[in-house]
Amino acid sequence: MMLNKIAAAFATLLLISGAASAQGAKLNDAQIAHIAYTAGLADIANAKLALKKTKNKDVRAFAQDMERDHKAVNDKALALVKKLKVTPQDNPTSKAIAKGQADERAKLSKLKGKAFDKAYIDNEVAYHKTVDGALQNTLIPSAQNGELKSLLETGLKIFQGHLEHAEHVAAEFK
């Protein structure tokens, strides 16, 4: 079970970093913005599902934080791309993230109670690890525009906070 989870997380990581590196030098700011925005949207969708299903107060508080924070960061990203007159561009990495998390939600929606809570929070831990890694290793170093880079850097610190928060909540279900 645990091995499966690690394998799944690793596969997602490979998929994201693989897709990002397959694009290589072609990963431009419009694509980076799209990847960051898509990653945020996916976590908002995860949070909304959790808010519908959970009865655990810590899981609920975490999901509310995710919905609020990712919306705030995405609103900033939208305002920035508008200011820079950049149109975010769909790309294989964005697609991999959106599909990966949609698949996770399909699995999660079949679960109930404590099984749902544990699976949701475990996915949040794995997903934030993956996205934080992609930001740190690929997206931030590739970003050309200073304001976009700075927003991604602040985003990374916020999401590192989410990872730590998720790990605290996950510890309840061990």
Binding site: D65, R68, D69, A72, V73, K76, E153, T154, K157, I158, Q160, G161, H162, E164, H165, H168
Partner: protein, 110 residues
């Protein structure tokens, strides 16, 4: 005693009075802590009982200033602030509930 010397004593007396009054006033300080880029700035504060801490959130997301002992917990939205007057001496560790990687410390002297 010469006029100059007397004037000197009066002057010194006035200085002492001013400095005693001054230190009493200085005790009720307001200490500003900026919340910026997911960090409290400054991270470590030295304060005295009666001082007030004001946290100003300059970030794009909401944060909290939450005492580890749970005796206070402020939610601070972007561009908003929160205020706390220190009532007793001691060492305070606080953090952000939403982003536990944010940590701060207040050393409160009597």
């Amino acid at each position: 005693m010469s006029t100059t010397m007397r004037a000197g004593f009066v002057f010194t007396g006035a200085m002492v009075a001013v400095s005693i009054w001054g230190s009493a006033v200085a005790r009720a300080e307001t200490i500003q802590v900026a919340i910026d880029k997911v960090a409290y700035n400054p991270v470590n504060i030295s304060a005295r009982v009666g001082d007030t801490i004001v946290w100003m959130n300059k970030d794009i997301v909401a944060h909290t200033a939450t005492n580890r002992d749970k005796s206070w917990d402020f939610m601070i939205f972007p561009n908003k602030s929160a205020k706390l007057t220190l009532k007793k001496a001691g060492e305070i560790d606080y953090y952000c509930k939403f982003h536990p990687n944010m940590k701060g410390h207040i050393s409160v002297k009597p």
